[in-house]
């Protein structure tokens, strides 16, 4: 099993979610997050005082999947989240030892 974590532009969330649903991914965790990479921040002006805001708002998706489906899922996310402009985000994959569904006690792939 794998944990796929994707940091994407907030307005791309719906596209990525639809793309994952279309290939049968049945759950994900989404959180609002912020950070910076090569895109850097932006500037804001309050009563003439200019501030740099380094942390850019992003959406963080976490998806637990069967290892066999990894390429398919990565492909769906990167295609749907792509704009070609700086700040599109990153996707990374982590190995997962165990997954348990709280309601039934199922373990492993059955719990996905």
């Amino acid at each position: 099993m794998k944990l796929v974590t994707a940091i994407i532009k907030p307005f791309k969330l719906e596209d990525v979610k639809s793309a994952l649903e279309a290939i049968g991914v049945r759950g994900m965790t989404v959180s609002e997050s912020s950070g910076f990479g090569r895109q850097g921040g932006h500037t804001e002006v309050y009563r003439g005082a200019e501030y740099t805001v380094d942390l850019v708002p992003k959406v963080r998706l976490e998806i637990l999947i069967d290892s066999e489906r990894l390429d398919e899922v990565l492909d769906a996310i990167t295609k749907a989240a792509h704009t070609g402009k700086i700040g599109d985000g990153k996707v990374w994959v982590t190995a997962v030892e165990e997954v348990i569904r709280v309601r039934t006690g199922e373990r492993g792939v059955d719990a996905l």
């Binding site: 804001e44 002006v45 309050y46 009563r47 003439g48 005082a49 200019e50 501030y51 740099t52 805001v53």
Partner: protein, 432 residues
Amino acid sequence: MESALNTGDTAWMLTATAMVLLMIPGLALFYGGMVRSKSVLNMLMMVMGSLFVVGVLWVLFGYSMTFGTDIGGVVGDPTQFLGLESLMADDPEATLPVMAFVAFQGMFACLTVGLIAGAIPDRTKFNGWLIFGGIWAVLVYFPVAHSVWASGGWIFEMGVIDFAGGTAVHINAGAAALALAIVIGKRAGWPKTPMRPHNLTLVMIGAGLLWFGWFGFNAGSALAANNASAVVFLNTFAATCAAAIGWLVVEKLRDGHMTTLGAASGIVAGLVGITPACSAVSPIGALIVGVLAGVICALAVSMKYRFGYDDSLDVVGVHLVGGLLGTLLIGFLATDLAPAGVNGLFYGGGAQQLGKQAIGAFSVLAYSFVVALIIGLILKAAGIMRISREDELSGIDLAEHAESAYELGDSGGSGHFVGIGAGSVRRDREEI
């Protein structure tokens, strides 16, 4: 004997008084949205607190110090209307019950003290602030309001026009704000650390409530429901629209964007500018006062970075500068067609009125600044003016009020009820 009471005037003045009261929570929201989320409750409390303290002082002896029999041109007899008991009787010759006037003027005292709070958020001890506000009201506001507005007051008798409080309210509060910002010092990290407004929606709601209430403040200062109050009402409206445009144009040219904070600030700058002048200028004059207030205040708020004083929410840049501007512009733009009936420099009245306006304005500025500085220094020496650096960094709301403004998550911060009264948590832990 038949009563001379004018019910129209009375109804309007009671309404106007309630409108001025609404300016105080309006000001609290206007300021509250501009501070960071860890200090918004303290900001609300500072403004509301001035209402509580000064309201009580006003009833006890503040009204009497302001509108009692003149003593030396500078203050009213504080014992004359002590406790206001003597003013309850129905006076058949009065067109307006004196209590309506007492209540209306009381709101001005409370609001003026509240304005000062904008210079010193995030870092001022709440009890120190309340003590300062009370002492400043007694030593500065009551005598100054007497001098400016009461029969026998030296500024009033000189013929200075201050219809609704450019000098008595805005210059007065702005000068005290500058003194306190200097005494209390900068916020930790200012100006390097970003201190962005945490909620501009609150700021605009506050500006809207201030604008609404300001019609009571200005048009109510006619003390009647008559032609003068209607002219003042319209002038207040005209100047405010023009000021918002003035501020936004400065921003567009200087910074590239017209901002929400700029619009809200322009509204307040215009209201401040027209406050002294609303009875003395034509509607076109009001537009000129407004646009100048918007432009000049938009430029003035950057002074603090040059001079290095942390007037956090620009009480100096908006209220002191805007108040001075409106007060002095009367000397140029006053027309005898307006209710005040005086001609300024541009209407062939010569420089005489301008001279009077300047003397009144700068005298109040100097007096308020010096006395606020002295009160502030004494309270600072007594150790009740500023919270610790640790408390300031972690947030004054928690340190001074044991509350946090926003709980947006479902987890509710987690934790459990311990007991009634302070010290419950400590006792609970000791038992374990």
